[in-house]
Symmetry: D3
């Protein structure tokens, strides 16, 4: 029924307009974002069928989050609704050099942190899915969220789904030791790993002289079908350089590097994950890397976590679109 | 040092612009509000010195709340700062008949709910204060907030402060039984009670054929210096009728009735409390009621919980200001 | 698969903020609206499954329209996509007495006006549907839209679907004669008719001394299962009185009258249609009328054509909700 | 060349959005307004040719004011440009009952207050004009503005222009004695007087038992061709009742009364003046009064001082337009 | 009467704020733009008298477009008003690297596309004009617009006006073959040609090793008084490099190159055209090129198609203004 | 009582949003700014106690200015309130290369320009202060402001306060000769001088081959404890390079250079002054320079004159914070 199923939290994202600090603002822009929802939306915009599994409060904030997924054509029928919990929130301040952008989380005790084993009907949801994706954020949310993540991964393997994990280490949610313990276990069932050099070092203590070497060492340690690593160079807050590699069965897949003018970098990495999975499922990893980097490069130019581009625009980037106004 | 000291929570208030529902909004207006802060600001705008005591998180949201109090000239030097807790939030949807306005709270585990006995230096704060004010919301926030409320009231009596309590029953925070038990105890030390007919019935089971009778019965039961009751008639969501009485030592103090066009009714009752206390401290309860109703009538015409009017404007209402444009 | 299928145009709706005239504005608020989409959304919000069939341009404006339907959980998989046509637009100016609100259409040559017989797979779409709904706007859009409307109605009858039609006469789209000819024909297959006194007179020349009589005469002429008539009294632009009746098999179903403070009256009638159908499908026409009027009364308090309320809120109106702030 | 020439100040008008107080705002909406400019625009929108004479600073604020006149098709070629002075400003707070709307002026030392005799080429400007209009505000701005007003009126009479004066007393600009002295002199050359009961009493000490009598007494004292008086009843801040009369050669011209929902009442009186002059110049005073009241009734529904309606809309009001949405 | 007369379409331009995609926006900013209107405004801001001829619908959108021309002091008295047609619209999405800005047109069947031969009184309009300007967009709008363009050019030559044409090829309006045929014909009467290397190649198949050579070859083929070519280098979407040359009677006129931070590049080329014509009419082509490039460089820093600068600011750029804040 | 006392004007600052020109705007953002208020706020945010002395009109604009100081915790109890004067205003247009940002002042006759000797109780205010700060703007406002500045400086010296002066030459307020005369006199009592190379040359005619030399020559001429000079390099309007030095007793204190992405550069220099004073008062001038440059670098990324950062963020810059998003 679905090409891809993802599992995780999406939060209400509140951000002051035009570089204002949170402390000074009298207006907040409302968006919705969360790693796994971003990926579910990303693959949907590229043409695949996706479902996003989560737990949300039965109130206008929960509906708002659900609606944004639905607006993008993502299946939301497996969301668990809670009558008593809250929606996770986060606040983003957009910066300008030398002030980096900053996130303030208010996500404790959110509905998904209270999810319980057995609440989600994984068997049914995953039965014809091609791939299950989750990030390292979900198991970090709470003990029970960790258990449900493991449950889902196990069920995915049983159902013959590929498992893709984005390492996504969040220091505010758990320590490096906790992350190492949990993620190492999950790696056993992971087919595709998405990570960065920094997260790899913090969670697994693995380092290399470049990101090709990091990929290889990860593969040596855990044995993946694909390891993909994104590389962001922060020339300034408003200007980044962006690229990625994938490593699969001894081969490195490279792609071009994009010069980015940053409107909103949140969700950038998730777009790469989406694009890469999209190509992988077509059994063309080079395409996955190329489209993934292009898709995520475009994301940085769009306000909000959602990647409001389409396959034609991504294709045009891969082929070398110019910067002239298109009319 | 202060004429008035108040103690309670102020929250970040988030509201969609122009009658949008929360579920449909992509913008939220940011205000700050909370019963006791509103009263501290109200008396300050009328010319008294006030301090507001609370507990806030040491983050931009906590600073934002503190700043808004400070902007109004309220002393904030006794706020307790928490490094780990969150700021209380609430969401307001403004309605139009037949859709009433609606509040969604997200205040659990806020910094003030974790306040502890002994954290506030009440002795020092209250030493020269004339009046201490708290509402029924503060003790409802948590067990420890209840303890600190009692501690503060005791300390106020010791310091020779008058104690004013706004009953303010919140069904989402505690049951009628819990409220009855705690508030009955607090009534023993209360000099001025502010309430409505509905709250009086819900918390104390006291009813009367009109609000004068309710006031008398409250006085019979607990023995106050002043009982003040506000009366709101909801002609429609955008049009209310508004008045109040005070009862003191067998005498009823009445005032005129205002026809209100409602821009934002939050904080309306708190403005009455502020105005009434202001008059009471001048030993002129009739003035207190008259200015209190006028001050709160004006509040309903102003966005946000804060009453951005001044004593000249209130005076002009009491004297019978017209509706012509003033130039 | 669907409880209800509707067919018609939804347009990009552009309106200047806060009572500005179109000629003076430098900002336009973007909403999406159209009678049949509004109904499909309305029944969905009340808990039914619905699909909306239309024809849209394959461009961001077409996607925006589709997304808004999808956001509400309405099935959009049967939309026909056009590579060359445009999206219909309309502009709304909101008024204040004595200036009535005003609509300027720019919908000529929209994608749906070029829909062709056979383009929609009605058989499949309607196969398990309980009810098919269309308004008098759809056949007025173009000759081919008229043909497809007839085709859909025929197919609905074949599939055993109930047919509901909202008369919705639009003088800018066709003459009274043209409307009479086409709508009279459609009435033959109509089970539920939604109309107003004015439209009934303009299209069918039928009048009565009150709306009960109009309903009866319509029934006498065409023979319906249900005729429902809404009644709006324009006390002022910002204040309306609103009610409706239904007539079925000789019996009148009445409901209470709501005093409305008008935020945005567009989509008000469609909400009544949705609510009434919802009750009708539960075989409780009285409930349909009661919930329909309450649901549409609430709509008038919400910006945009979409009715962002839910079944609990409607129920609460039917039971007599007050106007006090709900917290 | 022009049907009508007006002379006076137009200011930058700054107002906080949505009922905010000036003290609390972080945004100001920018409009342009001034009695004589409003009249020049009003008659232009009704189809006449008009010029507006003023003195403005040669800076972006002066250009902004000039542009808004030009946008409406008013001739601005006779504006005197000053290299050193400032543009007049005023701030408007919009109220809600019981808080009346309020204006704060910051117009001292504006460019027009430093206009000098001989700076304007009145002879040339007025040579083919039918009517010259000025309000009592212009001579109140400064001694030299008073001189230039007298100069203009004298020149108008010489050129065979009708002279229309709107009494418009502004207590912040001059005393009643000063106004009496200057305006009494100007009355000698005045053909049409526009006033209210209150201003008539304050400036001329003339009172009557109703406004018909006030008109007659004014006529007895000064001898006019037309005296027109507007009457505003402030039911509430958001709801007014509005009408006017004209008195000419012993005859009273009455018109219907409008119930107004107030969006922005500034410029309302000026629209009446414009409409009345428009009818007067067609030698149909009844039409002038009818269209004047309708035109000004519509003004109250539109943000800003400018009356963004047209002759068809005014006509439709005079004929009795309904309040239903127009589509 | 006019120094310059231009003829063409101006559209309502709708753009989402702050880099939002059209599909995601709930607000649109309203501007007005069109090549020939932009030029008429440009020369007016530099001090010349100009008229803009067009055909507009008699509705608020048509008035809005007319008003914006009038606001800038451009004569609009020769606009043809249509009771039945629509205003052309276009949507602009502003991008960030690597996403280029993008235009979506909705201009089919606009009022000007239905203009007819003889509708415009060219003889009278052009009788004392110094120069007539039109772009390659106008003849591309429709067959009749093409005929009226030819008619206007013929009439201009008869009246002794110089003819300036901006090649402005729009692939969405006509093919290269159609453009070639029509524009080649128009070149016979063209005195000044404005173009880019790309458009020159697409329409005339003419190429060169640099833009000086392109200019020469154009001159060889058609024989102009002036050929001017602008050159934009897209370093990134937010950063461009900008310059131009003119070629006249064997001589190249060069100017300095500007580094641009791009706020809104629409109308940039038209500002160059305006500035260059302004210098040309002073018989100083070098000044035309210098001021044209400076004027258009400034345009890129201003939202909207209109160049809100003035001659002093342009002069200051030509002389080498710094980037320090000016106070 | 205070660590630092500053004296000067703060104005209402009005700026069009998003790069719009003043002439084209219909909205103005409201901020408050002025050199000495900015410094008082700056040191307060870094943890010191400060008071700001000024003279303001007793109206909503005066209150607004006072409130913004109070919001930041700056003592405002010594402000002199005027019943008749106006608040100073200034308008800012934000630019993009090659258009520099631009300020238009409307500050003549502001309340502070009419301050009188003896109105401020300097003795009391300064009695326990460590440092008094004023800029060269204050004495330039009017003759009486000049006198009061001298009075304040004299009183500061008497009270044993250090005196810090920011040269801040404003050509629109006084000539270089006037400035030279007044500032030379004030230099006699100055302990810390803040300046730029350009201002030093314009006011004192002092030049050097680099800014170290300028500092030395200033010291040679006047004899300071500290001379600090900021250096801004305008790479483009949106990109600056920023650093500073201090010179004290023959020693140069250098700091690193920041690459700035400019959101709003107003108040940038004042933040340096605040940071430098903060370090100086800790008797660590190197820290003052380091923190001053970091603090002011951050200011450029924040809308408005106020520096909404805190000591932790400044420290993190000094230690070398990265540009990655902080979460």
């Amino acid at each position: 029924m679905y090409d891809i199923v993802t599992f995780g939290e999406a939060m209400i994202r509140l951000s002051p307009p035009y570089f204002r600090r949170l402390e000074q603002t009298n207006l907040l822009e409302v968006n919705v974002g969360g790693s796994e929802l971003n990926v579910a939306i990303g693959v949907r915009r590229l043409g695949l069928k996706s479902a996003w599994v989560s737990r949300l409060p039965l109130n206008p904030l929960g509906f708002l989050i659900r609606n944004k997924a639905r607006e993008q054509g993502v299946d939301t029928s497996h969301i668990i609704w809670s009558k008593s919990d809250r929606a996770g929130l986060y606040f983003v301040e957009f910066g300008a050099s030398p002030r980096a952008s900053k996130v303030l989380y208010d996500r404790k005790n959110s509905a998904i942190s209270r999810i319980k084993m057995g609440e989600v009907d994984w068997k049914n949801i995953l039965k014809e899915a091609k791939l299950f994706m989750v990030s390292g954020i979900t198991p970090a949310l709470s003990e029970s969220a960790k258990e449900v993540t493991k449950e889902a991964v196990k069920e995915a393997k049983k159902a013959g789904c590929k498992v893709a994990i984005d390492l996504n280490y969040r220091a505010k949610l758990w320590s490096e030791e906790e992350a190492n313990k949990c993620m190492s276990l999950l790696m056993e069932d992971t087919d595709l790993l998405f990570t960065t050099e920094e997260d790899t070092f913090r969670v697994f203590g693995i380092r290399g002289k470049n990101y090709e070497e990091v990929a290889k060492r990860l593969d040596e340690k855990f044995g993946f079908e694909v390891v993909a690593i994104t590389l962001r160079e922060n020339i300034s807050v408003w200007k980044n350089r962006w690229t990625a590699i994938a490593y699969s069965k001894g081969k490195i897949y490279r792609t071009k590097t994009y010069e980015l003018e940053i409107v909103d970098r949140l969700g950038g990495g998730d777009s790469f994950t989406a694009g890469c999975i999209w190509g992988y499922l077509q059994k063309d990893l080079q395409k996955g890397v190329d489209y993934g980097v292009a898709f995520s490069a475009l994301k940085h130019s769009i306000p909000g976590d959602i990647n409001w581009t389409n396959i034609e625009e991504v294709e045009s980037q891969v082929k070398g679109a110019g910067l002239r106004i298109s009319r």
